[in-house]
Symmetry: C5
C-alpha cells in the first residue's frame, strides 16, 4: 500500500504516484506499507534505488543504523509493534532530494498517527521546515509511542505487586512473562535506536540543519530516559518473580502444615477406635457402661494436646 503526501505551495495534498517528481513540491512523503512486488519495483524505478536496498526496510529484524549512499540516505529504526503481544519491528526511511520514503512490512501505529495529523490538523509546521525536521517529527512520534507503553507499564507493575500478595496463579505468571518479553524487545530496540539518534545529533549530514540536530539532542535525552525506565522495570519484574517464588513456597508450607495437622490430630484417636473395634471376646472396659465415654474422653484429650503442641510451635495463628 502506498500513500503519498506532498507539501505544495504551503498546502498539504494527497498525491498520485505519477505526480511525484513532476511538479517539484517542496517535500513529498511517500509511506509504503507492505508493498506488493509491483509497487516495490515502481518505487525503485522512480527513485533510482535498488529493490534489494528498499527491501532492507521490510526486514523486521534489520539492525537500526544510518547509511550514507551516493545520492540518498537510509535510516533504519525500530518501532513498537502492537500485535497479539507487543514486540518491535524495523522500518526504513529513505531520503533522496525532496522525497522521504518510509517503508515497512508491519503496520506502525506512530506512522499512521503522524499521517492523520498531517492530513487533518497542522500541516505547515511539520513539513515547512524541510527533510531533517520531518524526520525528527517522525522519530519523535515513534519514541512517544514507546514512552506511552512504558508509562503504562509502571501502573501494571503496581497492579501486579498487589495481585502477587493476594493470589498467585498461572495467569499472573503469564502476565509477568508477557511484560518481560516486551521489555526484552524494547531494550534491544531502544539501545540500537539510541545509536541512530546519537549519530543524527552529532554528525553533520546534508539532510539536517543545525536546528534539527538540536531537536535530535532533546530526542536523545528522551531515549536515554526510556532506557532508564525500561531497565528499572526489568529489575523490578525480576524482583517480583523472586517474590512470587518465595510466596508460593510460603503458601505450600501452609498447605502442608494443615495437611500434617489434620493427619496428626486424628492418627491416635482413629487407632484407638480401631482397637476397640476389634472382635475379641474379652475387651477391657467393653462391658463397662462408662467404657465408651472414657475412651471418647481420652481421644478428646489427645486431640486437644496435639492441637496445643501445634499452637505452641506457631503452626496455627
Amino acid at each position: 500500500m502506498l500513500e503519498i503526501l506532498g507539501y505544495v505551495e504551503k498546502d498539504i495534498r494527497k498525491m498520485d504516484f505519477n505526480e511525484v517528481l513532476d511538479e517539484e513540491p517542496k517535500l513529498i512523503w511517500m509511506d509504503c506499507y507492505d508493498p506488493s512486488d509491483e509497487e516495490l519495483y515502481a518505487i525503485s524505478e522512480k527513485l533510482g534505488i535498488d529493490t534489494d536496498e528498499l527491501a532492507l526496510g521490510l526486514d523486521e529484524q534489520e539492525v537500526p543504523r544510518v547509511e550514507e549512499e551516493e545520492d540518498y540516505y537510509l535510516i533504519v529504526f525500530k518501532a513498537p509493534l502492537f500485535e497479539e503481544d507487543i514486540t518491535t519491528t524495523s522500518f526504513g526511511v529513505f531520503v533522496k532530494n525532496n522525497i522521504v520514503l518510509t517503508i515497512h512490512k508491519d503496520k506502525i501505529k506512530a506512522i499512521g498517527k503522524l499521517h492523520r495529523a498531517i492530513c487533518y490538523k497542522k500541516p505547515r509546521n511539520v513539513l515547512d521546515k524541510g527533510n531533517g525536521f520531518f524526520i525528527y517529527t517522525l522519530l519523535n512520534q515513534i519514541i512517544s509511542s514507546y514512552s506511552k507503553v512504558l508509562v503504562k507499564v509502571e501502573d501494571d507493575l503496581d497492579v501486579l505487586e498487589d495481585r502477587i500478595l493476594q493470589d498467585h496463579n498461572k495467569n499472573l505468571t503469564d502476565d509477568i512473562l508477557q511484560l518481560r518479553k516486551m521489555l526484552v524487545y524494547f531494550h534491544k530496540a531502544l539501545i540500537s535506536n539510541k545509536d541512530v539518534i546519537s549519530l543524527l545529533k552529532r554528525k553533520y549530514l546534508p539532510i539536517t540543519t543545525q536546528e534539527d540536530r538540536w531537536e535530535f539532542e532533546d530526542l536523545y535525552y528522551d531515549i536515554i530516559q526510556l532506557i532508564d525506565m525500561e531497565t528499572t522495570y526489568r529489575e523490578l519484574l525480576s524482583s517480583m518473580m523472586d517474590m512470587t517464588l518465595s510466596i508460593e513456597n510460603i503458601k505450600m508450607n501452609q498447605i502442608m502444615k494443615i495437611l500434617t495437622m489434620v493427619t496428626a490430630l486424628f492418627a491416635v484417636p482413629v487407632w484407638i477406635t480401631g482397637i476397640y473395634g476389634m472382635n475379641f471376646k474379652y475387651l477391657p472396659f467393653s462391658e463397662d457402661p462408662n467404657g465408651f465415654w472414657i475412651i471418647l474422653l481420652i481421644s478428646m484429650i489427645l486431640i486437644v494436646v496435639v492441637m496445643y503442641i501445634f499452637l505452641k510451635e506457631k503452626w496455627i495463628r
Copy 2:
C-alpha cells in the same frame, strides 16, 4: 505553589513575586512546587525561559544532567521521594543571573528542610557565597537525604536477617521486595546524579567558583560512598532472598518428615486393628482372653521399631 526568598542587604526575607528583579537583591531563591499553569506562565515571563523548558523540571523521570543555554543554566537532579514507597523523582534547578529557581512536581523533603533552615536559622553562610555555593548546599542536602535512608537500611538488613532465621512469611517477603525496589530506584538515581556532580566538580562554569568546585569534589566522594553502600546492600539482599528460599525448603522438609512419620507410625497398627475388626466367625486368638493384649503389644512394638528407624535416620532430633 511558589515561595521566594531573597538575600537583601545581608538579611533574608520572603519576597513577593512582583518584587523579583525589582530591587536587585544579591541572591533570590524561587522554589516552585507543583505550579499551576498560570504560575508557570508568570515565571516564564519573568525569567524569559520557555515554559517547555521549565516543564523539564516537572517531569519525574527526566534524566539528570547539566544543560548550558545562552543565558541560563539548567541542572536536572534526582531526589528521594517519600510517598507510600520510597522511590525517586527528578527536579530542575534553573540559574539565571542572581536567581536560582528550583521547580518540582513532587514534594521534596530536602528542599523543604533547606527552606526552613534558611528562614529560621543561619541565613548568611548559605546565601552570602553566591549561586554556586547555594547550589552546592542544595545538592548536599539532597545527598544527605539519600544518606539518611541508606544508613537506616543497614539496620533494616540486620533485623531482616534475624526475622528470616526465626520465622518467614508473606510480610517478610514483601518487606524484602520493598527494600529491593527502593535500592533499584536509588541505584539509577545515584549513578545519574554522580555524572552531574562529576561535571560540576570538573568543568569550569561561570556560575561556580574554584571554591565551589572543591566543595563539589567532597560531594563527589560522598555520592560514590552512597553508591558503594547501595550496591553492597543490594548484594546482601539478594543473598538473603537465596537464604530465604533455602530456609523455606528446609522447613518444608521438616513438615513433610513429620507427616510421613505420623502416617508411617500408624499404618501397620491401624491395619492390624482393621484385620481384627473383620466379622469372621473364626478369628485366631479372638476367644483367647489375652488375645487383645497380645495384639496391642505387637502394635506397640511395631510403633517403637518404626520410631527407632526414624531416630537412626536422624529424622527426629
Copy 3:
C-alpha cells in the same frame, strides 16, 4: 574427501587433483572434507603449506581469525553443525594465488549447498569476480545457514510458550535445554565470526577488492542482526525457564490443596464411624432406630461445613 572446481574459460568444471596449477584457470576451489593423511600430505605438497597449518582447519574448536602468512592467507570461521544436536564447528579457508582451499573435519551444509549451486546453477557471477567475492559468497552462505536456524527458533519459542502454559513435563525441559545449548554455541561462534568479518570489511588485504569490502560491510550488519536475535532469544528462554518453575510450583500447590481437602473432608467422619464401630456394650443411640441416620446426618453436615470453609478460602474455584 577432496573435490575440486575450476573456473576455466568462463566455464565451471570439475577438475582432477593433478590438473591443479597445470593450466592456470582463473579460480580453483578445492573443498577438502575430513581428509585422509595422504590427501593432507598431497595438498601440502601441491600448495606448499605445512600440514600442521592445514590441520588448523580441521580442529573443530579453533578460534575464528584471519592470519596473513608470507604467501597465503588463512581464514578460520565457525559454521553451524547439524548433528544430533545443533552445535558449531570451525573450518579453514586457505587462499593462495588463484586457489581457494576450504578444509573441514565435519560436514558443513552451507559448503555443500554452495558446491551444488556452482555445479548446477549459476557459475559465472560467483567465480567470475575473483577470490575476494568467492570468499564473500562462501561466508554469506554460512551466515544464511545460521539465519535459517535462528528464524526457526522464534517459532519454536512461541510453541514452547504455549506448551508451558498447557502442560509441563520432562520433554519440554529437555527441549528448552537443547535450545539453550544451541544458542550458547551460536553466541560464541557469532561473536568470533563478527571479528573476522569486521576485519575483512575494514582492513585492506590483497585478496579483496573495494567492492568485496562493501559486500563484507553488508555481511557485518547481517551478523550483528543475528547476534541481536540470538541474545533476545536467550533472554526469552531464560524468562521461560523462570516461568516454568513458577508454574510447576503453582501446580504443586493445587495438587497439595486437593490432597489436603480430601484428607480434611473425611478426617472427622471416619473417626465418627470408628467411634460407633467400637465394641462396647453400651453405645449411646445404638439401640435407637434413628441412630444410624442421626450419625450419618452429622457426618454429612461436617463434610459440607469443611467444604464451605475451603470454598471461602478460595481453595476451590
Copy 4:
C-alpha cells in the same frame, strides 16, 4: 584514645602528647582510636589540620583514596573489622612532615599488632626508613590481615561442602550467608584499596621514595591475588547454594516417595479389612473357617505386588 611512638636517636619510645614536635624526632607515629572531642581538637591544634578533615578518618564508610592537601597527605584505607560478623571499616592516615597519624573509629587488629611489634620487637627497620616505608609496613599489615581471613575461608568451604552432602539445616544456610556477607564487604574494600595502592606505586609523592614504590608494587600484586581468591570463593559459594537447593529437593523427593509408598501399600488392604468389618448379616466366606486366612493372604499378596511395582520403578534402592 591516643598513643604516640617516636623514633628518637635510633630508639623507639612512647611519647607524651606534649613532647610531639618539641624535640623533632625522626618519625612520630600517633595512633588515635575512637577519640573524644577534646582529643580531636587537641590533635587538630597540634597538626594544623581541620577537625572536619580529621573526622574523615572516623567515618566507617569513607571511600578509600589518597588526597594531597597543601601541607599534608591523607590516605583513607579499608581494614577488616572483627566484630560479631567480619565486615570492613575505613581508617585515615594523615602524613605531615615527620608525623604519621592513624585515626579510626573501630578497633583495627592489624594496627594494634604493628604497635606491639614496634614496641617490643624490631623497631629500627620499620621506622628507620622514613614515612613512606612506615606507611608501606602499615598497609602491608592490613593486607596480611585480609589474607589470613581469606586463607581460612578456603578450609571453611571444604568443610561446608562436606556438611551439605551429609546434612542440611538452618545453621548451614546461616553459615553460608555469613561467608557471603563477609566476601561482599571484602570485595568492595579490596577493590577500593587496590586503587589506593595502585596510585601509591605509580605516582610520585614527596612522602615515598623509589624504593617505597617498589614495595608498593609487591603489595599491589598481593592485593590482586586477594581479589582473585575472593572472587573465586564467591563463585564457589554461589555454586554451593545452588547445590544446596538441589539436594533439598532431592531429599524432599525421597521423603515424599516414602510417604506415598506407605499410603499406597496399605490403601487396599485397609479397605478390605473395612469391607469385612461391615455389619451385614450375610458376608461371603464369613462363616468359612478359612475365610480369615484367605483374606489375609490376598492382602499380603497385594502388599507384595505394590512393593514390587515400586521396586521396579526404582523408588526403593
Copy 5:
C-alpha cells in the same frame, strides 16, 4: 627435591648441583619441587637470587605475571593441579643467563612429563634452540595439560545430560558441583595465563627470539580457544543445573499426584465401610442378603468414577 638437566656438547645429561655454572653448558634446566630450606638457600647462593624472591614460585596462589629484574627474569604461571579435586596451582620460572629454574610447591604433571620426554626421547630440538624456546615448550606443555582436561569435560557433559534425564540424585549434584568448581579455578588461571602469554608474544625480551615470539602467538590462540571452551562449558553446566531443578519439580509433581490419587480413590469407599461397620441395631440393608454386594458395587463405581476424573484431567498417562 632438585633435579638438574644440562645440554652439554649436543647431549643431555643429568647434572650434579655442584657442576652447575662450572663447565658452562649451553642450557641448564633446574627443576625444584617442594624444596627444603637448605635447598632453597643453596639455589639462592648459586644463582644470586634472594630466597624471598624464590619463594614467590612456591606460593600456590601467586598471580601469573612476568617480572623483569636487573639480571634475571621471573615468570609466574598457573598449572592444573591434580589432587583429590582438580584445581590450579602457581609455579615460578626463573631465567638467568643459561639457567632456567622451575620452582613449585605442588607436583605438576606437565613438568614431570617434559622432564621424562627430555631424558628419554628427543633432547635436541627442545634444548638446542635456547632459553626462549625451552620456556615456550614448557608453557605449551602446561596449556596442553589444561586442554586434555577440558576435552574430557565435553564428554562428561554429554554423560551428565543423559543422567539428569534418567535419574537424579545426590551423586549427580556433587559431580556437577565438582565440574563447576574446576571450571571456576580454570577460568581464573587461564585468564591470568593469557596475560602472561600475551606479553611474551608482544614484548621484546632479551630471552626470546623473534621465532620464539611467533610460537607464543600460536600458544596465545590456543589459550583463547581454551577460555572459549571453558566459558561455553560453564554456561552449559548452569543450564543443566536449571534443568535439574525443573526435573526435580516435575518428579515431585508426579509423586504428589500419585499420593493424592491413592488418597482420593479410597477416601469415600473407606468411609462407607466405616459407616456399615458401626454397631447400630438398625442398619439399612444390613439384613438384606444382597446388602453387602450392593455396597461393594457402589464403592467400586465410586472408585471408577474418581479414576475417570483423574484420567480426564490427564493425571494418568
